[in-house]
Symmetry: none
Subunit: 874 residues, 2 copies
C-alpha cells in the first residue's frame, strides 16, 4: 500500500523540505523544522496525491487512507500522551491545507478540532473554563463555516447580539457564562442550517474537516487564483493535522510573525511583531495592534533568546530570508510555519548581495533572488509610505514613479507654467506628438484614454516621467480647463498626485522620497552582466536620453525615432512647409532646411554613444500628425507659411485617414516621397562622417520601418546606398554602416526569409506587430481590453508582456526564417516588450542578439537577460 | 553553340506550334502554318532566349548571333531568289516582335526593311515607281519612329502639309512626284532628329530593327500591359524576320484580319474584314473603314475560296478559334499570322459548348476554354429595354454590355477620376496602346474611328468592357474636352451611355436590367459542377439577394451580414436608442424592439434558401457607424429620441475611435455587451424554429466575427448555446445549428488549433485578414497602393487577388491547424477573394470546403472551382 500519511514530531519526521510537491509547502517545512530539532507541535501530513485520488475517484477516500490516518493519530496520541475526545487529557488538533505553491487565504483551516461536550470538560480541567469555552465556540463557528457552509456572518451576528446584551465591547470581556450561552446559540444555529447536531464524535469531525480541505482545492476562488497566477501541474493540496497550541492561555502565552531580515529595507536585523495572550488569527485580523518583536524581550526574555537562535538556524539552514509563525503556550515556544519571505525590490537587492558576502549563497543564486520587475521601484521616486493618501481614481500604471503637481490642461500651458517654476502635472484626454514640449515640462502625465502603449505611456516611459494612462472615470475638458471625477471638479489651481507604479490618482500633494541607487545595486548588476548573453540597448531620441541610458548600462541605441526631432521649435515649420509643398521641387526646398538640423541631432547622439551602435529609424508617422488640427493653430500656420487658412484646411482634410495606423506611413511614405528618406540618410551619413573625422568611433544602423514586402526594402535600400556612397566618397571617410528593417507587420514576419535577403538586421517592432496580429488599435483598446483582462479573456495585457501564443509565434518565425536566409542576421526587439522581464526571457530563448527598451528599464532588461541564462542552465 | 535562329519556309520549318516559349506565339505559329503547307512567306525567328541574354549582358548581341542571322538571311535569299539591298531583285523583310503571350500593339514592328536608294530602284523595276516610293517613305517613317524615336507625328505633319499643298485628300491620291518629295523631306527630318543619315546599308537597318524590337519589350507601356494582365515568367520577345508581301500593289492586292468564328457572339460563321489595295496597318489603324470578309468574294472569288478552306484547316488543326491575318499580293494569298482568337465571354461559352457537340474537343477542354473571369460579361446588366433612351449616334458594336459614365477625354483623366470613385466613359477619336491604363479604369469605351478589330475594340473585348467603335458622327476634341454631335456639345460633366451589343450611343444615364443566361451557359456550368469538388456559396443579406444567388447556382449563404439589417427605415432608431442607452436595462429595452424585426429578416432568408445552409454573422461594425456624423442628422436624432443635441454629440465623441478598423467591433462588442449577441442568436433560432415548423428544412450557422483568442469564442458560444437551448425547448422543435467563427485576425490563424476546439466551422474573412496582415486600411490605401502597383512593389492588388505569399500562408496555416484539432472542421472563405478565380483555385488547392462570393460572381467561382480540379489533374 502506498504511503499516504507522513508523521512529524519529537525531533524526527518522515518528510523533509524537498518534498513540497507531495507534502505541500507547509507540510514539508514542518517536517524539515522537526528534523532540525526546532520545537514543532507534532502531527502528520496527508499527501497531495491523496487529494488527487480523492477527486479522481469521485470525492471518495482512497482505500487504506482511513487506516493510515488512524495509525498516525494513535501515534500522535502516544507522543502527546493525550487522546482525541478524551474527557481528562484531550488532544486538540488543527487541520490546515497546504499546497506545493503558496496560495494565501485561498483554502480552509479548522482549529481546536477534537472538542466535544465531553472533551471540553477535560480541556477546562487542563487549562481553565474560559479558555475551554472560548475554544469550543471557535470550533463550532469554524467547523460550521468551513466544513458545513453555515456562513461565518451568522455566528458573527450571534456574537454581536450577545456583546450588546452583555454590554461589552471586546470578545475578551465576555465572561464564562456568556461563552456558555454562545456555545448553546452556536449549536442551535448549526442544527438549524445543517439539519444535524454538531458532531460529538471527534473522528467524524476529523474526517469531515479533511474532506473540507480537499474540497477547498477546487472552489471557484481557488481555481481562479491558480489561473491568474499561472499555477499549473499541481496534484492538489496536502492536509496538515497538527497538535493545537494556544497563544491565548494567559500572560505567558502569545503568538507572532517574524522575518529573519527586514523585508522592506533588506537590513540584516530581526524583524517581526507579536501579541501576548492571542491566537494567530488575531495578528492577521489586525484588531489589536501587535508589538515589535524586540519587545518580546520585555515579556518573555527566555523565549526571545530562543527565537533569536531559531532565526539564525533557519537562515543558515534555508539560506534565504524566512517568514515564520510562532506561538508561545504558557512560556513554551512552538514553531507553526516557515516559508521564504517576500520582500521589496530594495530589500531583495541588499539581501541577495549581502548573503553572497556572508557566503550563504553564490552569485548566481543572488541574481535569481531578485525579480527583474522589482528593480522598477529602485529607479523612480516613490510616495512616502507614511503619508496620508486620498485616492480618487485608478488608471493604468503606465510609467513608474511618483509625481505631484498642479494641473495643466494643455501642453502649452504646462510649458509656460513650468518655465515660471511651477510644478505641473499634464492632464489630457490623450496626448499627441504636438504635446511633446508640455510632456517634457510636466512632472507627471495623466490621461483618460489610451493603453500601456499609447503615445502618453510610451513617451513618458522614455522620459522617465511618471504616467497614469487610460483613467476612464476622469472627465477632462481642456476647453473649460476642468476635470470631473465622481462629482468633484478640479481645475488648474488644484494639486494632483499620481503613482505611475500603481495607477493611483490622488487628490492634493503627497510627499515623496527619492530613490538612492546603492552600491549593492551596482554589484548585483555587474554580476548579472557577467552572466547574460543578450545585449541590452535603449530607445532614445536625444543626446540627453542617450546619456541617461548609457549610465544605466545601455550598450547602444536600438531605436532612435527621428520624427520627434521634427516637432521642436522652428523645425516644425520646415516640416510643415514640406508637407504643404505641391511638388517634389517644393519638398526638396523644405527638406534642405531640415537637413542641417537633423545632421546636428545625429552628431549629438553619435557623440553621446561614442562607439556604441545606434539604430536610427527613418520617418514613421503619417504626415498629418505634423499638421495642426485646431483652427487657431491652423490660422497661425497659414500666417507663417503665407498661405490661406483654406489651403491649410484642405491639406489637413486631404491627409485625413480613416485608420491612420494602417495608412500612409513608415516606408510607404519613403516609397512615395523618396526625397524625405534621402534627406534623412544624407543627414545620418554626413553626421557619422563628421563624428568619425573627430576620431570618435561610430556605428550607424539605418532602419526602414513598416516593411511588408521585400520590394519596399529593395527599393529604399538601393536609394539609401546610393546617397550614402555619394556622401562617403565626398567626405573621404571610411565608414561602415548597416541597413535593416523593423519587423512589425505580420506579413514581414511571414516573409522574413525574403526580407532577410535585403535586410542586414531585423528589429522586431512588437508594439505595431501586437496591434496588427491582434487587430487592436492601442489608442482604442480602452473600450474593451480592461474588460478582457478583468474577465480573463486575456490572461495578460499583450502590450505589456509579449503574447507568446500569437505574436510570439510570428516573432520566432520571423527570426528563424530570417536566419535561414542570412545566418548572421543581427536580431533585436525595440517594442515596449524589450523592457518586460518575461518578454526579455522569450527573446533570449529564441536567440535574439539584443533587446532595446526605454532608458529607465535598461537595468530590468539586464537582470532579466541574466535570469534567462540561469534559468536555461537549470 | 546554342541555336538562336529558327528558319521557316517552303513547306518546312525548324520550329512548331508548341515552341511558343522559345519562338513566341507568332513565330511558333508561322512555323506551324509552314509545316501544314499553308502559304506563309518564308523567314526566320530569333528566339526569346536571345532577348533575355541581350538584357542580361547589358543590351549586347550574344556571341554568335550575328553569324546565325547572316546564315539564315543567306538561306532566305536563296529560297526567295532575291537579295537584301539588291538593285535588281531586292529582298524586303518585315521585322516583328512576338512574345509567348500575345501583347497586341504593345511592341514594335518595322516593314519594308531592306529598302535603300539603291534597292528602291530594283523594287520600282519589279513593281512600279509608285509602289516603290510609297514603300520607301513608309520605311523611313517607321524606322525613324520605331527604331530611332523620331516621332510619328513629325512625319504625319510633313505628309499633311504635302497633301494640303498638293490639294489632295487621300494618301492614295498622291502622285509619284509627291512621294519622291516626301521621301526627301522624310530623310531630312530623319537627319535633323537623329543627327545621321538614313542608313543605306540594309544589314545595318536589320540589326538596328532587331535591337529596337528587343528594346520594345521593356518600354513602360509594355511593362504596364504585362502587369495589368498578370503576365510573368517570360524570357522576352522573339523577333520574326519575314519576307515582305504587299497588299497595296493595286486592284488585285489587299489585306485582312479574320476569325474562324464570330468572336463576339461565338456563332460558327466566318468573320472578318479586309481592305483592298492596303497594308495590314491600314486595317488596324482604323483610318479606312474595312469591308466584311464575305465581300471579298465580289473582288477575288478564288482567294475567298482559298481563305474559306484555310479557315477550316486551321480550326481542325488547332481545335480552337483562330484569329489570322492575310495579305493578297497580286492575286496570291499569303498567311501572315494565326493565333488563338480572343473572344467575349458569351462567345467563349458558345464556342466551347458547340465544339464539344462538333466533337472537336471534350468537355474538360471546353470547361478550361472559358476563363472564369470572362463570365463577368455574361452576368453584367444590360440596358432596361423599357427605359427611355435618347440615342444620339450609332457606331460599331465592338464589345458587348451596357455602360453609363461621365465623359473622360484622355486616358490620364479617366484613370485619375476613376481612382476618386467616379464612373467614367473614355471617349477618344481612337485609342492607342498608351491609353491602356485609362481603358482599364473606364466603365466603357467610345471611339469615332476604327473598326471591329481596331485597338479599342480588341482591347475592350479582352477586358470585358463595353465598347462602341468607329462612331464617325462624333467630333471629339481632347484639347477643349468637348464632343460635338449633331449640333449639341457634351463635356466632362455630362453622362453618356453606350450599348456595346448594339453600337448605340445615348445621352444621359440609362437604367440597366439583369442579363438572361443562354442554354449553352447552363450546359457549361453543369459540366463545371460535375467536375468541381468545392461548394460555392454566396454573400447575401436579404431574401432578394439570396434568390438571385440561388438562381446563379449558390449552394448556401456563406456570409449574411446582419448589420445592414439595422440601417433600413425605422430600425435605425431602435438601434440608436440601444446605443444611447446608459445601462443594460436601456439596451435590453431597445433590443426588444429589434428582435421581431431581425427574426422577420431571418425567416425571409431561410425561406429563400430552403434547406441550404445559411451562415449568419453577428453584428460586426463599431457602434459609431450607426450614429449620424453631421450636425443636421444629429439634431434630428435628438428630436426623435427626445434627448439634447449635446447628448448625441457627447455619445458620438465617446464612440469616436482613432482606428475604428482595429477598435471596439465584432465579437469585442458581443463580449462587452453580450445582450446584443443574445438578441441576435434568439432572433436566428426563433426564425429557424418558425421556418422548420412550416416543414422547410433549415440549417443555420451562427458565425462570431473578429475572434482573436479562443476565450472570446468560448464565452460567446456558451451564451449562444444557452439562449438557443432555451428557445428550442420552448418552441419544441428539433433543430440542428452550428456555431463557428470567422478567421480574419492574424492571431486567429496562428492559434487556429485552439480556436477549432470551440469552433464548428471556420470562414476566412480575407478582407480583414489582408488588411491586418499587410497593415493596410482598405479605406486609406488610395494614397500608396496605386503607386505600389504601378512600380511593381506589389505584383497585384491584394484586395482583389489573395496574396499567396503572405496572407495565403496564414489561411493555409489556419486551415491546417484547425483541422489538426477538428479533422471534420468545415472551412470556407467569405472575403471578396471568394469570387476571384485565382484565389478560388488556391482555396481548392489547400482543401477548403467552399467559397462564398457576391451573387454575380457565383458562376465565376463555380467555373474556377472546376478549373482548379482540372488543372490539378494536369
Amino acid at each position: 500500500m502506498k504511503k499516504m500519511v507522513y508523521f512529524f514530531g519529537k525531533g524526527k519526521a518522515e518528510g523533509h523540505s524537498k518534498m513540497k510537491e507531495l507534502l505541500g509547502g507547509k507540510g514539508a517545512n514542518l517536517a524539515e523544522m522537526t528534523n532540525i530539532a526546532l520545537p514543532v507541535p507534532p502531527g502528520f501530513t496527508i499527501t497531495t496525491r491523496v487529494c488527487d485520488e480523492y477527486y479522481k475517484s469521485g470525492r471518495k477516500f482512497p482505500a487504506g487512507l482511513s487506516e493510515q490516518i488512524d495509525k498516525n493519530l494513535a501515534k500522535l496520541e502516544r507522543v502527546m500522551k493525550a487522546k482525541l475526545g478524551d474527557n481528562k487529557n484531550p488532544l486538540l488538533v488543527s487541520v490546515r491545507s497546504g499546497a506545493a505553491v503558496s496560495m494565501p487565504g485561498m483554502m480552509d483551516t479548522v482549529l481546536n478540532l477534537g472538542l466535544t461536550d465531553k472533551s471540553m470538560i477535560g480541556l477546562a480541567k487542563q487549562t481553565n473554563e474560559r479558555t475551554a469555552w472560548d475554544a469550543y465556540r471557535r470550533l463550532i463557528n469554524m467547523f460550521g463555516d468551513v466544513v458545513m457552509g453555515v456562513g461565518h456572518e451568522r455566528f458573527e451576528n450571534a456574537m454581536t447580539a450577545l456583546k450588546k446584551k452583555a454590554r461589552v465591547k471586546l470578545d475578551t470581556d465576555l465572561k464564562v457564562s456568556h461563552l456558555k450561552e454562545l456555545v448553546k446559540k452556536y449549536k442551535s444555529l448549526y442544527r438549524k442550517h445543517t439539519g444535524e447536531n454538531f458532531p460529538q464524535n471527534p473522528k467524524v469531525q476529523l474526517r469531515k474537516a479533511i474532506e473540507a480541505v480537499f474540497s477547498s482545492w477546487n472552489t471557484p476562488r481557488a481555481v481562479k487564483y491558480r489561473q491568474i497566477n499561472n499555477i499549473t501541474g499541481l496534484l492538489g493540496t496536502a492536509v496538515n493535522v497538527q497538535t493545537m497550541v494556544f497563544g491565548n492561555m494567559g500572560a505567558t502565552s502569545g503568538t507572532g510573525v517574524c522575518f529573519t531580515r527586514n523585508p522592506s529595507t533588506g537590513e540584516n536585523v530581526f524583524y517581526g511583531e507579536f501579541l501576548m495572550n492571542a491566537q494567530g488569527e488575531d495578528v492577521v485580523a489586525g484588531i489589536r495592534t501587535p508589538l515589535p518583536i524586540e519587545r518580546l524581550n520585555d515579556y518573555l526574555p527566555d523565549c526571545y533568546e530562543e527565537l533569536l537562535a531559531i532565526k539564525d538556524i533557519l537562515e543558515k539552514h534555508y539560506k534565504d530570508v524566512q517568514d515564520f509563525e510562532f506561538t508561545i503556550q504558557n512560556g513554551t515556544l512552538y514553531m507553526l510555519q516557515t516559508r521564504t519571505g517576500k520582500r521589496t525590490g530594495l530589500a531583495a537587492v541588499r539581501i541577495a548581495v549581502e548573503m553572497v558576502k556572508e557566503k550563504l549563497i553564490n552569485k548566481e543564486t543572488a541574481i535569481l533572488r531578485v525579480e527583474p520587475s522589482a528593480l522598477d521601484q529602485l529607479l523612480h521616486p516613490q510616495f512616502d509610505p507614511k503619508a496620508a493618501k486620498k485616492i480618487i481614481a485608478t488608471g493604468l500604471a503606465a510609467s513608474p514613479g511618483a509625481a505631484s503637481g498642479k494641473i495643466a490642461f494643455t501642453a502649452e500651458d504646462a510649458e509656460r507654467r513650468a518655465e515660471l517654476g511651477e510644478r505641473v502635472l499634464l492632464v489630457r484626454r490623450e496626448t499627441s506628438p504636438e504635446d511633446i514640449g508640455g510632456m517634457n515640462a510636466a512632472v507627471g502625465i495623466l490621461t483618460s484614454t489610451g493603453g500601456m502603449t499609447s503615445h502618453a505611456a510610451v513617451v513618458a516611459r522614455g522620459m522617465g516621467t511618471p504616467c497614469v494612462a487610460g483613467c476612464g472615470v476622469l472627465h477632462i475638458d481642456a476647453k473649460s480647463k476642468t476635470m470631473k471625477v465622481n462629482g468633484k471638479t478640479y481645475n488648474s489651481k488644484d494639486w494632483l498626485s499620481i503613482d505611475g507604479s500603481t495607477g493611483d490618482v490622488m487628490a492634493d500633494r503627497v510627499p515623496t522620497v527619492e530613490p538612492e541607487l546603492s552600491g549593492q545595486f551596482s554589484t548585483l548588476m555587474k554580476w548579472a552582466d557577467s552572466v547574460r548573453r543578450m545585449k541590452v540597448r535603449t530607445n532614445a531620441d536625444t543626446p540627453e536620453d542617450s546619456k541617461v541610458a548609457r549610465d544605466f548600462g545601455a550598450q547602444g541605441i536600438g531605436l532612435c525615432r527621428t520624427e520627434h526631432m521634427f516637432f521642436e521649435g522652428e523645425r516644425i515649420w520646415a516640416m510643415r512647409e514640406m508637407i504643404l509643398a505641391d511638388d517634389k521641387k517644393g519638398r526638396l526646398k523644405a527638406l534642405r532646411k531640415l537637413l542641417p538640423i537633423q545632421r546636428r541631432d545625429f552628431v549629438g547622439i553619435f557623440k553621446a554613444m561614442k562607439g556604441l551602435p545606434v539604430t536610427i529609424r527613418l520617418l514613421d508617422p503619417p504626415l498629418h500628425e505634423f499638421l495642426p488640427q485646431d483652427q487657431k493653430a491652423q490660422r497661425e500656420m497659414a500666417r507663417r507659411l503665407k498661405i490661406s487658412v483654406k489651403d491649410v484646411q484642405v491639406k489637413v482634410a486631404q491627409l485625413h485617414e480613416m485608420n491612420p495606423m494602417l495608412g500612409h506611413r513608415g516606408c510607404r511614405l519613403a516609397v512615395t516621397y523618396p526625397e524625405i528618406a534621402d534627406m534623412q540618410v544624407r543627414a545620418i551619413i554626413e553626421a557619422a562622417c563628421a563624428v568619425k573625422k573627430k576620431g570618435i568611433k561610430v556605428l550607424p544602423e539605418i532602419m526602414i520601418p513598416l516593411v511588408g514586402t521585400v520590394n519596399e526594402l529593395s527599393f529604399l535600400k538601393a536609394r539609401a546606398r546610393a546617397v550614402a556612397a555619394e556622401v562617403i566618397a565626398r567626405k573621404g571617410v571610411r565608414l561602415k554602416y548597416m541597413i535593416g528593417t523593423m519587423i512589425e507587420i505580420p506579413r514581414a514576419a511571414l516573409t522574413a526569409d525574403e526580407i532577410a535577403a535585403e535586410a542586414e538586421f531585423f528589429s522586431f517592432g512588437t508594439n505595431d506587430l501586437t496591434q496588427m496580429t491582434f487587430g487592436y488599435s492601442r489608442d482604442d483598446v480602452g473600450t474593451f481590453v480592461p474588460h478582457y483582462l478583468a474577465t480573463e479573456i486575456l490572461p495578460r495585457d499583450p502590450f505589456q508582456t509579449l503574447d507568446l501564443g500569437g505574436v510570439g509565434q510570428l516573432v520566432k518565425m520571423g527570426l528563424e526564417r530570417g536566419r535561414e536566409t542570412r545566418p548572421d542576421l543581427k536580431v533585436g526587439i525595440c517594442g515596449e516588450h524589450g523592457g518586460d522581464p518575461d518578454s526579455v526571457k522569450f527573446c533570449h530563448n529564441i536567440g535574439m542578439d539584443y533587446v532595446s527598451c526605454s532608458p529607465y528599464r535598461v537595468p530590468i532588461a539586464r537582470l532579466a537577460a541574466a535570469h534567462a541564462v540561469l534559468e536555461e542552465k537549470n
